[in-house]
Symmetry: C2
Subunit: 344 residues, 2 copies
C-alpha cells in the first residue's frame, strides 16, 4: 500500500492542501491542526515524494557529479567533500565514474539531463571537453541551461582549479635549490600539461632549457597512474640518460616511479630525488615519504559547490565564466632531501 499525502490527510481529517502546507512550512496553519497533521505524519511515517515535488518546483535538488575514477584517492576525496557539502544544502548527488571514456562520459551527461539535475560538477578528463569543443557533451548541458562547474580548465565554462603552473614551479624550484640540474619530468596526459609547463617554466627562470630526453609523456589518457609511473621510470633509466631528480605529474606516478627506481637499485633520495603532486594520503605514508605539492582538495570541493550554488541562485543568466584558482604548497618530505640518519 503506497503512502501519499492523501492518506495523511485522511488520517488527520484535513485536506491534502493543508498537509502540504505543514510539509512545506510556508503558509501558516493553526497550531492544533498542524499538530494533528504532524502526528499523522509521524504515525504513518510519511515522506513526501521528491519526484512529484520537483515536477512543480521545476528543480530536482539533484546534482550530477562526473569523475574519472572513484578508486583514485584524489577523486574519491573530492567526491566525498562535494557530496557532503551539497547534501548540507539539501541536494542529492548522482555520482558517475567515467574511466576517462568519452562515450561513457557522454552517456552519463545525457542521463543527467533526463534526470533534470539542477547542476553538474564536471571532474572528467578535460581532454575530451576541450578537443572538439563544439561537439562536447558539455555543450548539451549549456543548451539546457544547466549550470556546470568544471574541476579543471575547460574553455567557456566556470571552473575551479589548483594553480598547476605555480605548484609545479614550486616543486621544480625546490629541486633546483637542492642543486639538481638534470631533472626529469613524468606526466603527459591532458590534465598534466599545465604541470609540465610549470616544470619548463622553472627551468627557464634559471636559464636552463628542458632536455627533451628527460621528459616522458603519455599522449593517451592514463588510468593506472602508478603503473604508468613505473614503466616511464624504467624507460628513463634504461635509456641511460643521466638525471638526479624526477618531478612526477602526480603522487601515484611518483610512487610507481620510486618502485621502478628501487628495482633498478637506485636509492631515493640519495641517488634520485623524487617529487610528486597532489599530496594524497599515501604520500606521507610511503617509504620514503613523498615530497609533493599539496592540493587543497577540500577547499577545491568547497569552492566548486559554492560556485555552483551561486550559479543556481542567479538563474540561467549566462555570466562570464568564472575561474577560481586555488594555491598549492610544497610539502617537503623524505623523497627529495637526504636526511641525517636518525637510526643507526
Amino acid at each position: 500500500m503506497k503512502l501519499t499525502i492523501k492518506e495523511v490527510a485522511q488520517e488527520a481529517g484535513v485536506s491534502i492542501a493543508t498537509v502540504s502546507r505543514v510539509l512545506n512550512g510556508k503558509d501558516r496553519v493553526k497550531k492544533t491542526t498542524r499538530e494533528k497533521i504532524e502526528a499523522a505524519i509521524g504515525k504513518l511515517n510519511f515522506k513526501p515524494d521528491q519526484a512529484a515535488r520537483s515536477m512543480i518546483n521545476n528543480q530536482t535538488k539533484m546534482i550530477g557529479l562526473l569523475v574519472p575514477q572513484l578508486s583514485n584517492e584524489f577523486w574519491g576525496l573530492l567526491a566525498e567533500v562535494i557530496q557532503e557539502q551539497l547534501w548540507n544544502k539539501g541536494y542529492s548527488v548522482l555520482i558517475c565514474a567515467t574511466g576517462t571514456n568519452p562515450d561513457k562520459e557522454s552517456m552519463f551527461l545525457q542521463s543527467f539531463i533526463e534526470r533534470r539535475v539542477d547542476g553538474v560538477i564536471y571532474g572528467a578528463s578535460s581532454a575530451f571537453a576541450n578537443k572538439n569543443n563544439t561537439e562536447s557533451p558539455l555543450q548539451l548541458l549549456k543548451e539546457q541551461g544547466i549550470p556546470v562547474v568544471a574541476m579543471d580548465q575547460v574553455t567557456g565554462y566556470h571552473c575551479v582549479v589548483g594553480d598547476g603552473i605555480a605548484g609545479s614551479l614550486l616543486a621544480v624550484e625546490h629541486l633546483l635549490q637542492l642543486g639538481h640540474t638534470r631533472i626529469a619530468y613524468i606526466g603527459g596526459w591532458s590534465v598534466s600539461t599545465v604541470r609540465e609547463l610549470g616544470y619548463r617554466g622553472a627551468l627557464l627562470e634559471h636559464n636552463m632549457v628542458a632536455d627533451e630526453a628527460l621528459i616522458i609523456r603519455s599522449t593517451e589518457d592514463v588510468v593506472n597512474f602508478s603503473q604508468y609511473g613505473y614503466q616511464a621510470m624504467k624507460q628513463l633509466v634504461d635509456s641511460g640518460t643521466a638525471f638526479t631528480a624526477a618531478f612526477c605529474a602526480n603522487d601515484l606516478v611518483a610512487i610507481g616511479a620510486m618502485r621502478a627506481l628501487k628495482e633498478s637499485g637506485l636509492k631515493v633520495p640519495e641517488q634520485i630525488a623524487v617529487v610528486g603532486y597532489d599530496d594524497i594520503n599515501i604520500a606521507a605514508l610511503y617509504d620514503p615519504a613523498l615530497t609533493t605539492i599539496h592540493q587543497p582538495i577540500e577547499e577545491m570541493g568547497t569552492a566548486a559547490v559554492k560556485l555552483l550554488l551561486e550559479l543556481l541562485q542567479e538563474g540561467s543568466e549566462l555570466s562570464m565564466p568564472r575561474k577560481i584558482m586555488l594555491q598549492s604548497k610544497l610539502i617537503i618530505r623524505e623523497s627529495s632531501v637526504v636526511q641525517p640518519s636518525i637510526i643507526e
Copy 2:
C-alpha cells in the same frame, strides 16, 4: 523555454500519446509517423523527464549507495564497480559517504526514501545497524518495502561479504608456516571482528592461545586507518611485548604499522613480518610490498548488484535473507618473506 513531449508532438504534428509511444517503443506506430517523430526529437534534442515517468511506473530507476568513505580505496573501488554495473542496467546511483556517522547514515537513508529509490546497497558500518536492531534506520527501508543488500553481515538482511574468517585464517596460517609464534593482531572496530576471530582460530588450530597483550583493538569506529595502525604499532612496540609478526585488519592499518616499525628501527620483514587485508592497489606498490589477503572487490560489487536486481525482480515478497560469501586469497609479497637479495 522548457522542452516537453508537447513541443515534440507539435513539431511532428501528432498527439503527445503517439510521441510517448515511440519513446517507449512498446506500442506499434506506423513507420512514417515514427520517423517523423524521431526527427522531431532529434531536432529539438528532446529528453523525456525521468521524474514524470517514475510517477507513473512507480519506479525511479535510482539506487541509493551508502559507504563509510569514498576517499578510502576499498570503498572507492567498490562504489565505482557498483555504479558502473547498475548503470549498465539502466539505474542511476545516489552515492552518500557517511564517515561512519550514524546520524548522517540515518539522514541519508531518509532521503533515499524521499527520493523513492528502488533499492539500496548498504556499505556502512554495520556496528550501528546491528547494535540497536529495532531502531536501525535500515528498518525504515524494510517497512517501505525497499530491498537492501548489505556489504557486510547485517542480521536480517541480504548481504554480500568476503569470507573474513577464512581469509584471516589464511593470513595467520601463512605466518605460522613461516615459523612465527608471537603474532600480533591490530584491528578491533566492528567490521574487523570477524578477522580477529580468524586470527584466533588459526592459533587455536595450532594449539596456541592468543596472547591478549599482542592484540590491539579500537572499540570506536576508526576513520583514519593508517594513523590508527601507526599508533597501535607504536603502542605495541613501546609495551615491550615480544613479537615477530603482525596481522593487520586491513592494508591501510598495515601500512601505518610498517611506518611505525620503521621509525622504531625495526626492519620488515627481517625483524617483523607484516600481513594486511584487502589488497588495495597501494599494497603491491608499497616498499616493502605488502603481503595481504586479496578481497575480490569487483566480484563483491558485481554480486551485490546482481542480488539487488534479483530482489527488484521478485518484488516485495520478503524472502529469506540471502548471504553471498566470496572467497579471498593470500597474496605473498615482500612484507612477510625475507627475500634472497636481488641487488647488491
